[in-house]
Symmetry: D2
């Protein structure tokens, strides 16, 4: 079996390190091009990469996409903190190459985003998203909560109150969706136990993305097929 | 607008009383034939009933179905504690009239049964169903937990450990589905706040059932359409 | 056995009705003087009351205390939404008669206020209080959350972030205390299932208060003795 | 300042490694005698150890205690799976040296064991302990749940139903105490986020134990003083 040749941008970062570990433990993948920050670009080597995984920074995104597009190589991007400008960039390049971006690469959060569609059947309920993270996390609400909120508002066809955010200790990442009526309460809750969760999702996404046509994808599409909504 | 004429079997029971309240508060419905236990059957009046709601007892089921079938009247049945015999009876009559039976009539539990289908995408996780009820509840696990278990085993295509049951105080009814991997935990949780939740679901089901063809339905079908799975 | 003669102020209100039910179900108590809003005051009858229970309104408080003090009758007060003025009034009358005020009369919340003292041993943790209530509740955070916050700040000797409040559906009342470090998370959580919880606490407090000396008490003192902290 | 000289039994085990890391990060402590399994005993070096930490195995316990007692050195023991025989051994040696044993060394679980004393005020409630752990954990219920159960039964003066155990994924360790009445539910819940939690507790206990007299201690005593109950 031919192994999927993976290039990793920002390999020395915290997430880069996790991704390397997951690739090395995965017999179907090969860490083909680990690219360090400020490392010189080797176009010849890059041409042989099957798929890039990038968790570096919003600033690096443009370069990553440009270089990947040179060789029509798909890109899995897990960077958060994107403004409209970066999101437009993703859409633009998605016309030429397969681009997968998710604010949260975990399988469980992808399932959460799928499961919340069932809430459209009880759109008359009240809804509230809540997230808990460690005390070093500065952005509020989390990117994942923002995505959940967008998808939930689409599902129940109404504007919802802002997500609630709690910060404390070393909580790795908890996201909850409350659905509440006078008679019942539904809670969908996701807890990330460690950082590996995102690396595993990204690598699974990379293996899937090499078989896709150009387009903008989400981790949800890996599990449930391209989402038309 | 023509109101839906509802017949209620076992109108003096606890659930019967709740159903009466919900019907009376619903401008689209009329409490047309409240039938007390041991009350003599009025076939002429029964002929005009649009739909029956029955929360009485497994023993009464046969009579209810037989009489409803006389006039081709749909039946919503919320009785629990059915053996295979009663379930066969439901299937048999469902060939002649629309029959809707659910071990739990709440909309939220119907959503839970729909949402759990998304767990098929992470079927390699570990799963566990848990339920909590008041200390007067004798059956373990609850009928709702059994249905969730059946649907979950179908979704993830494997045999799962028995549901866990906790009994105490006046807890009205909590059901949880745990999905657990080495990296993350998903919990889907439903809490019933009061008894009205079942009455509201039953009446909503009754309004929907009058427009259906003969067949065996679940509360889930009211929200999401007839489930082929 | 001599029954405790209870006077209830605002007997026709929602909480007044609950209190009447609990008194009537309690063989040690007697509903001696149910006082309706705007009912004329009968000083002779009031003289025989053993203890007053008042859930009426901040505005009524002054009158209630004044009249109770005439006959040295203890007062259990469960009204919320008090400003500093009303709290001063309670303290002032507490020099003459036993006065018990709590923003939440449930036994469980009293236990929560006691249990949180143990958190002083891990005061280096991060803390966060959260509360969930139905969508008709306007004040944020709840009076109970404010009291928990005061007691928690006293226990851990530091200023904490504001309580977080969620509103939705018919949630009767949930309060949580999160204690979070890099290695572990403790959650103390209280859920009120119905309104009776407050009435039961108030009546238990009333039975206890008739045996106390003048002073300002809390529901916690009924369970754990007068709190010196 | 003189550093606390710590000896670690079973230094190459998983917990041993964690303890080494925590000692090395603690400026008040020194990893003085890291003892590997089957390493020859150096009595001269052992004489200078201020306190032993042992997470090795029930089998090793006797040797550890015997050797520590030779030099009157306190022992912190975090091994679980003890039978009555090992517990008797601990009690016996506790007459000669300070011995601290807890089935769970985390501060949070110690707080939980303290906080549950407040439940004695609502001993008429129903109670249930629940624990969740990863799918490699074989013993059911966990040692921590057993200790919580013993302490809870002492607090509420009645026999309680067996703890409920859930196994799945990589859940590090969750323990819950449910207190339930017809009107309210209290849940005290502890979640361990990682293994460091036990190492940190053990080292904090070691620093405290060097100042104690002979006796059998628990991690609770480190936080709240010797428990007489």
């Amino acid at each position: 079996m031919k192994k999927t040749k993976i290039g990793v941008v920002g390999v020395s970062g915290r997430m880069g390190q996790e991704i390397v570990k997951v690739i090395e433990a995965n017999p179907r993948c090969e860490l083909f091009y680990p690219l360090h920050r400020d490392e010189k670009w080797d176009s010849k080597k890059a041409a042989k990469v099957d798929v890039w995984i990038d968790f570096s920074s919003p600033e690096a995104l443009k370069d990553v996409l440009k270089r990947a597009a040179e060789h029509k190589t798909p890109v899995v991007c897990g960077t958060t903190g994107f403004s409209k400008k970066e999101k437009d960039l993703l859409s633009q390049y998605a016309k030429k190459i397969p681009v997968l971006w998710s604010s949260n690469m975990s399988l469980g959060v992808a399932v959460l985003n799928e499961a919340l569609k069932s809430l459209s059947a009880i759109s008359h309920f009240d809804f509230q998203i809540e997230e808990l993270h460690h005390n070093r996390k500065k952005d509020k609400p989390s990117g994942t909560a923002i995505t959940l909120q967008e998808n939930l508002e689409k599902a129940v066809q109404k504007k919802l109150p802002e997500p609630v955010a709690i910060r404390g200790g070393g909580i790795f990442g908890v996201h909850k969706i409350y659905s509440m009526s006078d008679e019942e309460v539904l809670v969908f809750e996701h807890t990330a136990l460690n950082r590996t969760v995102f690396a595993k999702g990204a690598v699974q996404a990379a293996e899937w993305l090499v078989k896709q046509k150009p387009g903008l994808y989400q981790i949800r599409d890996v599990l449930f097929g391209k989402n038309k909504a």
